[in-house]
Symmetry: C2
Subunit: 235 residues, 2 copies
DNA sequence: GACACTACGTGAATAGTATTCACAATATGA
DNA sequence: TCATATTGTGAATACTATTCACGTAGTGTC
């Protein structure tokens, strides 16, 4: 039950490795995460790191999981307003805040090459990613005043299956669909803002994001919610 | 006027370098573009490549410009239908086709780190990127039946300035805004599809993309266009 | 035609990177 | 006390980009 002395030391070393790796990631991006650099900073030989991580990708997979969890917590923390509409707006803005606070971390989880270690670590990544999505879904469920949407029957089936698999079968298809599109649209803006692709237009990403949220709110809640919220948080 | 013998040989070498680099990019991603590998394939010493490109980033910047131009041509080629609505749909679908035909190329231009060489090469990249955007803008201008949108005054100003700078001041603000959001929304979907982030949901990216296009079309043209198109192509 | 200049390519050197392995030291549990 | 598992070292391997001194060969000029 109690972790042994060795296990505690081991965990401490793992934490230190990850902390330095995360620092490198935040400051200089994924490419700058260097095992040699970490070893130097810890006054170790580079080979010793392989006692704790199979390889570089394995370490990055850990950072991805941590990042997803951190995102979920940030979104959850943003969802404080009692008014469902305001709460959803706050979650959407929290998403951007999180992305801008560390663009390199955002890039790691959403724009890194899924070829090698990350696809293999899907069993750890997917649940962590689901936590963030759940915050969105519950915020939308509470704010939504519409009950249906013009989506194809096949898509409807797929959404239902997704809802069941993701352990919130109580959510209507419209909410699932809105959760998905809210995410993809906000991500589209953030991805381009972070990648500096909006800078050339001279258009303020802030305004654009806010306008996109307004548009989404009009779809989700054409009439503001009047009844008390049905749901208050994520799982 | 005539390129000298030397200049022709030089251009030929540059083209060969770029062709091999592009092959590496398409097959294995940006990280796999290797000067050593290119040199080996050309039976040259690695150092000789520096007679043609300042460094690796300089070569990648060239690939970015070529990719943007290729995208613009693909979009333009997709815009054949005479019906403005169908034409816009085809352009949007052409965007996805191009992205899926070489995800690594899409990632290079939209998800690579803009820190080093690419920001410096903005004077070559921006015009090439503008070509693609112009196809979208003209397709939207021809299909749009709405004349205004609920956008903030500041955003309206920025859009106007962008329109002037991008050399199509004839386009109404609503069209500029719709062009921008069409792009960011489709990119959001494509970015996540390519990154394998939709796979975990089990939802068909194809259906989702089509549904998003439907939604966009409803915004752009609540009533189908009846009059002849005002505009037929990009610059 | 000889000369000077420029461009091109080589091969070696530098300084990074990840990863593996034989070996030694050390801590743990019996 | 002893056998075992864990941790770390240092060297080796095989990559990567990049720089540089040097030689060769083609180009235009006098």
């Amino acid at each position: 039950m109690h972790p042994t002395r060795r296990e505690r030391y081991r965990q401490q070393t793992i934490d230190e490795i990850k902390a330095i790796a995360m620092k490198q990631l935040v400051e200089s991006g994924e490419a700058a995460v260097s095992l040699n650099g970490i070893a130097k900073e810890m006054a170790m030989s580079p080979g010793a790191l392989y006692r704790y991580f199979d390889n570089r990708d394995d370490l990055l997979a850990d950072l991805v999981v941590d990042a997803y969890n951190d995102l979920a917590e940030h979104l959850q923390a943003a969802a404080t307003a009692s008014d469902p509409t305001e709460r959803l707006r706050a979650v959407a803005q929290g998403y951007r805040e999180w992305a801008l606070h560390s663009p390199n971390t955002y890039r790691l989880i959403f724009e890194s090459v899924s070829g090698s270690g990350l696809t293999l670590a899907a069993d750890r990544v997917v649940p962590a990613a689901r936590r963030s999505m759940n915050v969105f879904l519950h915020a939308i469920a509470a704010a939504a005043t519409i009950t249906d949407l013009p989506v194809d029957d096949t898509l409807r089936d797929e959404l239902t299956r997704w809802g069941n698999r993701a352990e919130h079968p109580e959510l209507p298809v419209a909410v699932l669909y809105l959760g998905l599109t809210t995410w993809t649209r906000l991500h589209g803006l953030l991805s381009l803002e972070i990648g500096n692709h909006l800078a050339a237009t001279g258009i303020s990403a802030d305004l654009l994001y806010g306008t996109e949220i307004d548009t989404l709110m009009r779809t989700i809640a054409p009439e503001p919610v009047l009844q008390a919220p049905l749901d208050s948080g994520a799982s």
